[in-house]
Subunit: 338 residues, 2 copies
């Protein structure tokens, strides 16, 4: 069964469940959930309940899976790998909780967000709490270099979180700001999480660097794909209406590429006033325009280039089912529809 499943995984666009099954990762993935839930020991209900709520909501656990897999490329130490995988997921969860306050999002992963289910300060402190729990998880890994990786990631995440692409005007100069933002918001946690996986499994410096490059490229492909889905995803599949980013006045790659391809004077006026003054019906017009533009296809191509970059980074490792699975996950990230 192991051989059969890994054969499937090596095909482009791995199914995450198949990866978990093919590498007998069910137990460690369950251990990650148990590890995280076990850290939530607070007697203060208004802290422990939101934390359990967020952890239980789960998500794809893509970051945890990547850490567990990458750690197997060298000397696999399950308890250390579970601690690092949990730490990465907890940092991710903490940033989502604070992100939802900033975006005032009522729902996340089909569940009420913390600030809407409890109250704003519970989300503020609840996010801090999840971040503090990640420190405990890192301590359990027993390796200070993991803190070096994930501490650096946390710093960059904050920068990505607060940097405003929309403030970059004219739109022609937004590309750099966009990459800076998603590099922090999304890619760096993949990058540093994978480097940490290398660190705890005794990978060489070259291998750690390669894992970081794989993670960075995969993270960029992941976020660009997210941003494309926000324009052209199937609402029934992505679980929310399209156009959310634009209605929150967030400029992402499809819009940047669409504008780069040329825009009418009225469209330029709308884009110039996107942060301040553009009326809702103008935004809806912009949405339709971007959906039909070359910006969608060009963004998909850009995501594909990152995806290829992720696979290329793995070339220093000898061919193996694990390397194939990591490549398969990169293509999954690109080809997913939610």
């Amino acid at each position: 069964m192991g051989t059969e499943s890994t054969a499937t995984i090596s095909a482009r666009g791995a199914n995450l469940a198949e990866v978990v099954e093919g590498f007998d990762l069910e137990e460690e993935m369950t251990q990650v959930e148990d590890f995280m839930q076990g850290l939530v020991g607070s007697p203060v209900m208004v802290i422990s309940e939101p934390a359990r709520h967020v952890i239980s909501a789960g998500g794809k656990r893509l970051r945890a899976l990547l850490v567990l897999l990458a750690a197997r490329l060298n000397h696999y130490d399950p308890p250390k790998a579970v601690a690092v995988a949990s730490a990465v997921e907890l940092i991710h969860a903490a940033t989502l909780v604070h992100d939802d306050i900033i975006d005032q999002s009522p729902r996340r992963r089909g569940l009420a967000t913390v600030h809407s289910k409890w109250f704003r300060d519970a989300a503020l402190v609840g996010g801090d709490y999840l971040f503090a729990l990640s420190a405990t998880a890192i301590a359990r890994s027993g390796d200070i270099r993991v803190l070096d990786c994930l501490g650096r990631a946390a710093v960059r995440i904050c920068e990505g979180e607060i940097s405003l692409v929309g403030n970059v005007n004219p739109i022609d100069q937004a590309l750099e700001a966009y990459y800076f933002k998603i590099g922090g918001k999304t890619a760096v946690l993949f990058e540093e999480g994978l480097k940490a996986a290398g660190v705890i499994s005794g990978a060489s410096e070259t291998e750690i660097e390669a894992l970081g490059r794989y993670g960075h490229n995969l993270g960029m492909a992941f976020q660009i794909t997210d941003d494309v889905l926000d324009y052209v995803g199937d609402p029934a599949v992505i679980g929310k209406p399209v156009g959310g980013d634009l209605r929150r006045r967030q400029i992402t790659l499809p819009l940047i590429y669409a504008a780069d391809d040329g825009m009418s004077p009225s469209m330029r006026t709308t884009i110039d006033r996107i942060d301040d003054g553009a009326a809702p019906d103008e935004i809806e017009g912009l949405l339709t325009w971007v959906q039909r533009s070359v910006g969608i296809g060009q963004s998909q191509q850009e995501a594909q280039r990152y995806c290829q970059g992720a696979c290329d980074a793995l070339e220093i490792f000898p061919s193996s089912p694990i390397r194939d699975a990591l490549e398969g996950i990169a293509w999954f990230v690109l080809e997913r529809n939610r």
Copy 2:
């Protein structure tokens, strides 16, 4: 000069500046400031400016001073001690920034708070950023056990931050909630910071435990003294009007002890409705009542007991100028007027 200064310090109620001078700690204290400022490397102004603002605002730097001193009780390693001292101050700074959002405080240490000088989300992410920088500082200490201490502190700080003494009704049962709150809000960072100082200087388990007990007791004395000053401090010296806690409907020890001593039916009615419904003029009446009550003196006595507990914890260390200075700082914490 060194001897003369330490003689002064061993007297009850050390002056912090004298401690710094007497132990030639100026250089390390400056290094702590430089270390913290040096970590702020973000190119994103809306992150780096608030971070520098908060770090520059300084404060007493009592936590840093205690770490530097306690590390000298054993094998003093200046770079490690500076990293730990900085980490503790950064965690403290991060919690203050988020605390100020929750309390909607316009000013702190005579300067505008981050959320009022910039905007709320800058304070939210700015606090996260300071916390992330503390992780970097801990990584620089090179000792994973420091993360164990300070990660645990961060978890407890969140619990203290969000737990609401005011929700405990009747007032007779508020004491336990009050101690739980200040134990997290204030004492645990002194406790775990001092344990971390022991850890990086090669202290024995017994010594680390004693340093933690010193820190816990000193932290409790510190917060109770703060809470007393909020009732009876000199506004010109503490830099704010008295009664701020009560006007924010926060129940602290002076009120709990005052109520315990007996209260009129009308006073009980006000206290029962402190969270919800008590009118501003009723709160002013309550303030005056507490100020004239036995609650002030009893709280001061309680702070003194903690202060004595801090000194007692140090008894396992041989008598030395450093031990004397740590005792002196405990009494300073008690006797300070701001």
